[in-house]
Amino acid sequence: MQTLIHQFWQLTFSGVAQGFIYVLISLGYTMVYGVLRMINFANSEIFMFGTFATVVVSRDLLGYGSDSQPIHGFTLIWSLALALVVSMIVSGVVALLVELIAYRRLRSRGTNRLAPLISAIGMSIVLSESMRLLTASRSVGSPRLLAKTSLAEIGGANIRVDQLMVVIVAPIMFFVLQWFVNSTRLGKGIRAVSMNEETAKLMGINLNRVISATFLIGGLMTGASAFFFETVYENTKYNIGFNLGLAAFTAAVLGGIGNIRGAFFGGLALGLLETYASAVLGSQWKPVTVFIVLVIVLLFRPNGIFGEAVQQTRV
């Protein structure tokens, strides 16, 4: 407890940075669930492909090596932006493939709800094992593009540039997504399908197009989180998405799965909870604490903290 009191702001800053990574991954789960009422079990592998995309861009496309010095100025901004965009595109494309292969044909044939669930798990395993074979199961390090410079110390919290980037850019992406879902034609279509699929179809909404768009948007957000993760931790491997995906799924359920605002608060709450629990009880108690809190929340709020209450932001 002494650590929590004395290091509160440092822990909070780290927890918020980690929380925003969860927010973006949990959007991938929540978007798909909101529309299909099914969990996209392959989202963790969509994340994993995003992390490898960041590595490939910085290492192979831009030619930076493990001993390269961090870059600065316009080159840095351009390189990071390229890595971010490519990661988002790669994850988005993988998400689209998952929808096409694991969901669409089964949905068009009117199979029961379990079949796409299993096919999504199958896709998850295929993606993960393919990467395992490609990398011989080894961790892959990412070149350091962004120096881990400390910008300031606020209340004892060391504000590091890479974590600050996550804290600033991730919420911007979240609010852009929220605007998109609330205000654009396609976003309204997504919300309509989310509320009532049959009625939406009768109103002339192209169901397949909306579902594909939902997977794509979820994938783009997951890809962005993969970029942020890789920039902060500079390390990935074929099963990197498993633990993070589980955490993000937990965050989505905590906030209210299917609810964009729920994913936001669930992700942040989980990031902070994990950090505080590690500080007070020890890191080995982190998962235990998180799931005890999740169970308690669900006992009182079975649909998560936000549940179905915020209709206008539900996808």
Binding site: T3, H6, Q7, Q10, L11, S14, G15, A17, Q18, F41, S66, D67, I121, S124, I125, S128, E129, R132, A136, S137, R138, S139, G141, R144, K148, S150, N158, R160, F229, Y233, E234, N235, T236, K237, N239, I240, F242, N243, G245, L246, F249, E274, T275, Y276, A277, S278, A279, G282, S283, Q284, K286
Partner: protein, 384 residues
């Protein structure tokens, strides 16, 4: 959330030395095995280890051309209990295998023991150091009568690691972190006991992290370390997680000493951690192959294609114990067990290798210190 298929574990048979001609009926062929991490986060350890095994077999086959040839079966357990549980039954059933070098890691060893005990297959580990592996009072971990090992145990490494970590530090404030593995938890206990016994040392705190997740967010632990004003951090775990830890530690502005045990004694640690590994202090009950001389080092490089790496000496010696027994007629599992248990052997450095009743090498053993300097792990001599 979902079931993961554990990494497929390939068991590949590799014939070393010279092919046995059908015409040459007098040539007798025997099979040994190696078990360790050949893929996965800690694969570099296994790759370096098996190179030592292959070198010993290649030299043996060349010396016994026309009479005896030895083949090697590779078993990849990825350094973990789950992987060991997948490969050990197959190795145990393959009765052609009369001896196994490994398992490399303690957790994988414990998971493998039931299969090898039932099959009577003799094991010599080059690097598994958990104390209970040779402690008959801890029946769940005890590998006897089949298990033997060459390195010193963690009850010797723990105090040595503690001493080496604080060496030269005027007022050591130590934070101890382990990876929750069988190996890490055990070693951590001995390190902490040694630290607490030293009145000049302040043990500021201890923590445990998830050693199976090499990309874990360790910010909470690091905040505690910085909050405790620790100037020495000791980590008991394997190199992939150690690399992630030391990187996050340095990124957070930690300037003190980072020390770790034989699980981190691997070039893969430096490769993954890059500059953050600089200055890291490591301990291992392992000798440096290059100290055996330039001639044999060059020969090793020529035969294997790479320079000898970590644990090459111990793997070379373990393999030679089996090969010596084969030349003495130990050509079945039962005979091999007797030979290894009762025989006296000579190591690369002319050291005597004789196992006690529980599988440890008789004598006091040694722990060497190592330092990461200019991106290379260099020897710092024996830790007293």
């Amino acid at each position: 959330m979902k079931k993961k298929v554990l990494a497929g574990v390939a068991v590949v048979t590799v014939a070393l030395g010279f092919a046995v001609s059908p015409a040459d009926a007098a040539v007798k062929t025997y099979t040994l095995a190696y078990q360790g991490p050949l893929t996965g986060d800690n694969a570099q350890t296994g790759i370096d280890e098996i190179a030592g095994v292959k070198y010993a077999i290649a030299k043996f086959n060349a010396a016994h051309k026309g009479s005896i040839q030895v083949k090697l079966v590779e078993a990849d357990d990825q350094g973990g209990a789950a992987g060991a549980g997948q490969v050990a039954p197959g190795i145990a059933k393959n009765t052609a295998i009369i001896g196994l070098v490994g398992p490399a890691f303690s957790g994988a060893s414990i998971a493998s023991f039931p299969f090898y005990k039932a099959a009577g297959l003799t094991l010599i580990s080059p690097s598994a150091t958990r104390v209970t592996l040779t402690d008959p009072t801890v029946a769940s971990d005890f590998g006897g009568p089949v298990f033997h090992r060459l390195p010193s145990k963690d009850d010797k490494q723990g105090p040595a690691l503690a001493a080496y970590a604080i060496k030269g530090v005027t007022a050591p404030v130590v934070y101890d972190v382990n990876d929750q593995s069988s190996y890490g938890v055990g070693l951590s206990g001995y390190v902490q006991t040694a630290l607490k016994a030293n009145s000049k040392v302040k043990l500021a705190g201890a923590d445990a992290v998830d050693g199976t997740n090499a990309a874990l967010d360790l910010s909470a632990v690091i905040t505690k370390i910085k909050g405790a004003n620790a100037n020495v951090v000791i980590y008991e775990g394997y190199y992939a997680q150690a690399a992630s830890f030391v990187k996050q530690l340095r990124d957070a502005g930690y300037k003190g000493i980072f020390a770790s045990g034989d699980g981190t004694y691997d070039p893969g640690f430096v490769t993954l951690a890059k500059d953050a590994a600089e200055g890291a202090r490591l301990t291992a009950s392992s000798a440096v192959f290059q100290d055996a001389g330039a001639k044999i080092t060059a020969d090793f490089t020529k035969v294997i294609g790479t320079a000898p790496g970590t644990y090459a000496v111990e793997d070379y010696d373990a393999t030679n114990v089996f090969l010596t027994c084969i030349t003495k007629g130990a050509t079945t599992r039962a005979k091999m067990a007797t030979c290894v248990k009762t025989g006296t052997f000579t190591g690369l450095f002319k050291n005597t290798i004789k196992f006690d009743a529980n599988g440890d090498v008789s004598g006091t053993g040694f722990i060497n210190g190592f330092l990461v300097k200019n991106g290379v792990i260099i020897s710092a001599g024996q830790v007293k």
